[in-house]
Symmetry: C2
Subunit: 179 residues, 2 copies
């Protein structure tokens, strides 16, 4: 069965700061039509970073969208023309002050495919500290938190880190025998 | 350290079909200000459904946002006033024709906390088939796919099912010894 929806029309209904929203008219497989609002995102990257001591480096930050301070793996958006891996290396340095000595692609996941095209590319990085200060965006406030593998595993399993990309990265790292 | 961002102003900049976008002016902890575009979502639910035979019931559908047909756990949005568990039971019946005989809360995850307030509540359901036809929305096309636990595990590990809520639900089910 072919469920593909043919695009009949497309209109930008919001040009936001970090995303755009398009309204698409679509034709379904029975010939009927519908409307889909779709958020267009530059693509995300998430990095599960291990320090030379074997601990994991995550970041704590206040996320206005969910009105709370949460812990996540290092993450960010791709700059125009930047590969996902390069974005991951850059975000790692900016947010933690560590440099990747290796980057292994763990997998990818859609953030919420019902309404956003965001794909998060997930990496596992071995790292080494860089001298110097963090280079955060002017409106970015993050602090690095270190966890032993056992502590991070416990926190993720007990749902104390309820972030989907972090859970997915941990699952893939475990599945690949990296932990 | 307190990273909380105080809301200075809030304006609806898009009233979409299934979500709204607000533009917030915020004050950071050093007194400087910034702007955040935030997508407001009714909240999602995801159900990892097991049939009486021990197979798992997932759904295949075309997702216009990512322009592809993908396999996901049963999922949907909460109706106004509906609990997450009730939404999960309803979506399960609508999309698969199976009824939940038990619903265990697995955990929750943020879809993409940088820009959306969407929280997905995840459940593990034991199910039994209902007589009668599926009750899909007029513009919804899904087909049910059954997987043995081994096959589903392989597909998720090999990243053939790159959906974050599906990966998270599988991780939690495994972690709780349900598989």
């Amino acid at each position: 069965m072919n469920f593909e929806e043919t695009t009949l029309s497309s209109e930008v209904i919001l040009q936001g700061i970090i995303f755009r929203v398009d309204r698409l008219g679509v034709r379904l497989n029975d010939g009927s039509t519908s409307t889909r609002d779709i958020l267009r995102h530059a693509g995300g990257v998430g990095v599960l970073a291990r320090s030379p001591s074997g601990s994991f480096l995550l970041v704590r930050q206040f996320r206005k969208a969910v009105e709370s301070e949460i812990i996540e793996i290092v993450a960010g958006m791709r700059d125009p023309g930047e590969t996902a891996e390069d974005a991951g290396r850059r975000e790692l340095m900016e947010e933690t002050g560590y440099q990747a000595t290796s980057m292994l692609h763990l997998g990818r996941c859609f953030a919420s495919p019902g309404y956003t095209d965001e794909v998060v590319e997930l990496y596992f990085a071995e790292t080494t500290p860089l001298p110097g200060d963090l280079q955060l965006d002017h409106d970015e406030r993050v602090i690095v938190e270190e966890f032993t593998p056992e502590e991070l595993d416990r926190r993720i399993r007990e749902n104390e880190i309820p972030d989907s990309k972090t859970i997915a990265a941990w699952f893939f790292a475990q599945s690949k025998g990296l932990l």
